[in-house]
């Protein structure tokens, strides 16, 4: 498999296949370095690329490999999560998200969008397209810790559901929960706002249940962070 165009890639041996493998996409060198470290420190294998096109190439979904879906091409490194910046030249994170969700082979992979801009219509659009979550930059360790929950969720759901309905069902469920949380949050936020860092580090501590899939406070946290960022 070609690796030119991939900026940084971990060597994954068969024994490592248990470890979570994240494909990170960001055109900023500084941000790539930071997200890579955040993921590695959270025990993830990381492949970091600098564009949506490179990401598609890595997955084998690029234009030049139209045959990938029919010839049984499988990337040598299974990808468990894709985390991508929104604002990128040539192909935005949203466009990349669409391409992934259109692919029968990769639509199951959770995709998380990162953006420095807290724009609700943008966030809604991404969530509606099937993004698992939306993180407002700069990304913190607590954000990455939350992501690991999505990967565990996926393993549970792929086993027990029909591929198609399973993915869509959960996606829609998360979107609805997010909208509900959003409505609840609006009244919360107007009273004295605590600092952003305390909020973003609280989800697991305040979660009543130990399972990340059922905890509404885990899903609430990206919206909380978004609201708090507005006070900057």
């Amino acid at each position: 498999m070609e690796t030119d165009g991939v900026v940084s890639i971990d060597h994954v041996s068969p024994e490592d296949s248990q470890e979570v493998h994240v494909l990170a996409v960001d055109d900023s060198l500084v941000d790539r370095k930071v997200i890579e470290r955040l993921l590695k420190i959270s025990a993830c294998k990381v492949t970091a690329v600098d564009s949506g096109i490179r990401a598609l190439q890595f997955l084998g979904l690029d234009e030049q490999r139209r045959t990938s879906e029919s010839d049984g091409f499988v990337p040598s490194l299974k990808v468990d999560l894709i985390i991508t910046d929104y604002c990128m030249p040539e192909m935005t994170g949203y466009e990349l998200l669409k391409k992934i969700k259109e692919s029968s082979m990769f639509r199951e992979i959770p995709v998380v969008i990162m953006s420095s801009e807290n724009i609700l219509p943008r966030i809604d659009r991404c969530l509606e397209e099937g993004a698992e979550d939306f993180i407002v930059k700069p990304v913190k360790l607590s954000d990455v810790k939350r992501l690991k929950g999505y990967m565990a969720t996926r393993e549970v759901k792929v086993g027990s559901h029909d591929r198609r309905s399973g993915a869509e069902g959960v996606g829609i469920e998360i979107n609805n929960k997010r909208k509900l949380e959003e409505e609840e949050e609006i009244s919360d936020v107007s009273s004295s706002p605590p600092s952003i860092s305390t909020l973003s580090s609280s989800p697991f501590a305040s979660s009543p249940s130990s399972s990340p899939t059922s905890s509404p406070s885990v899903l609430a946290s990206p919206i909380r962070r978004l609201k708090m960022s507005n006070t900057d």
């Binding site: 900023s28 941000d31 370095k33 470290r37 360790l141």
Partner: protein, 150 residues
């Protein structure tokens, strides 16, 4: 001039504290420090070095764009957006703040405002660079003297 480890550590704490108090750095810088450990002892230095390189390129590009007639505000805004992003990622709060102002001047196509912002950015970058280089120097001196810092 030789100083013992304790004195150096005190100086480091004081300098770092001042940088936060004066708004040069924000919590994101602390986040980066948390990501550094024995396996990645130069992580912060590496990220900051990348940021310095990025800064210099962006400042040069913005200056070049502002010299053009007519100025391409869309392009300048793209650079300011990039710079705002990377400064946010390393915790360079004052730089980030000036970038935000810069962007609003781009939006209103205010050439004068943009030029003043560029000047301010160059100043802020220069101050930050000097301060951080001093911080890293203190850290190195502490390490060399056999000490450590959190």
């Amino acid at each position: 001039m030789t100083m013992d480890v304790n004195q150096l550590q005190a100086k480091l704490r004081e300098h770092q504290s001042a940088m936060f108090q004066q708004g040069f750095l924000d919590d994101q810088f602390s986040q980066l420090q948390k990501l550094q450990d024995e396996s990645t002892p130069d992580f912060v230095l590496e990220v900051v070095t990348m940021f310095f390189d990025d800064s210099e390129n962006l400042l040069k590009n913005m200056a070049r764009c502002l010299e053009q007639v007519p100025a391409d505000f869309k392009q300048i805004d793209a650079y300011a957006h990039q710079y705002k992003g990377s400064s946010a990622s390393v915790g360079a709060a004052r730089v980030k703040s000036v970038c935000a102002t810069f962007r609003s001047f781009c939006e209103t196509k205010n050439l004068d405002g943009c030029m003043r912002c560029l000047q301010q950015l160059q100043q802020e970058y220069s101050l930050l660079k000097n301060s951080l280089q001093y911080l890293f120097r203190l850290q190195n001196d502490i390490k060399a003297a056999g000490g450590s810092f959190s």
